[in-house]
């Protein structure tokens, strides 16, 4: 192998030194279930293919830093924009609307609200 791998994807880890793997089952958060359902529906409808999702995921700059459902959802975002099914402006507007929905007094200090404020 050369010192500087050419065109080696971030997913192609075989043979590299591995750190500890967190094998704890964290379950699925509510948004993860929703995002997963959306991906499943779009796949079954033939709108996105698993190969396209992999290609989009492996092209993400943040691939190694994102959690699993963040990767798949980011990949879905790339494909929907690419295929012209949504626009960046529409996504931004919808996300802003949803953030406002969470912006209510919250004595429990919802982690969702804290994250949205960052």
């Amino acid at each position: 192998m050369s010192d500087k791998p050419v065109n080696k994807g971030p997913h192609d880890l075989g043979g590299e030194a591995a750190g500890l793997i967190d094998t704890t089952d964290h379950g699925m958060l509510f948004w993860e279930k929703q995002a997963n359902a959306l991906r499943s529906v779009l796949s079954r409808a033939g709108i996105v293919k698993v190969d396209e999702l992999r290609r989009a995921a492996e092209g993400l700059e943040q691939y190694g830093k994102l959690a699993y459902f963040e990767v798949t959802t980011s990949a879905l975002r790339v494909l929907l924009l690419e295929k012209g099914l949504v626009t960046e402006a529409e996504l931004e507007a919808k996300m802003a609307e949803i953030r406002r929905r969470f912006d209510v007094p919250d004595e429990m200090e919802s982690p969702i609200k804290q994250k949205a404020k960052r």
Partner: protein
């Protein structure tokens, strides 16, 4: 487990017909040592390695094309290729008969024409 009278012929198989395949079971092959851009499914660590065709899995739409929204036709023949671990991993400490098998598409393989006549991968 299925019962004694189970109709195993009705069980689904992922095999797809592969007419016109280039390699046969037992053929010695080398994985191409090339590093093109694109959606490539052949892991880096197996490129340039030598193995033997273990089975012909069938012909499947090409994932390198599917990844960019095309239909993946013409289908590509997929093989399961067997490699010895000692060959794949320099310094491998396990038994010499340990193998790794990997499914690789035909266009990533070429005949293993090493002149030394070494039958072992």
């Amino acid at each position: 487990m299925t019962g004694a009278g189970a109709d195993i012929s009705a069980m689904r198989s992922s095999y797809a017909q592969a007419p016109g395949h280039r390699f046969n079971v037992g053929d010695r092959v080398a994985v191409k040592s090339v590093f093109p851009p694109g959606h490539r499914r052949t892991p880096w660590y197996i490129r340039g390695k030598h193995g033997v065709i273990e089975r012909i899995c069938g012909a499947f739409p090409n994932p390198e094309e599917l990844a960019y929204g095309f239909d993946g036709e013409p289908a590509k023949v997929l093989y399961r290729v067997r490699f010895t671990q000692k060959h794949v991993w320099p310094g491998y400490q396990g038994p010499g008969h340990d193998v790794i098998e990997m499914e690789i598409f035909e266009h990533w393989l070429e005949p293993d024409d090493r002149a030394d006549g070494d039958a072992k991968p």
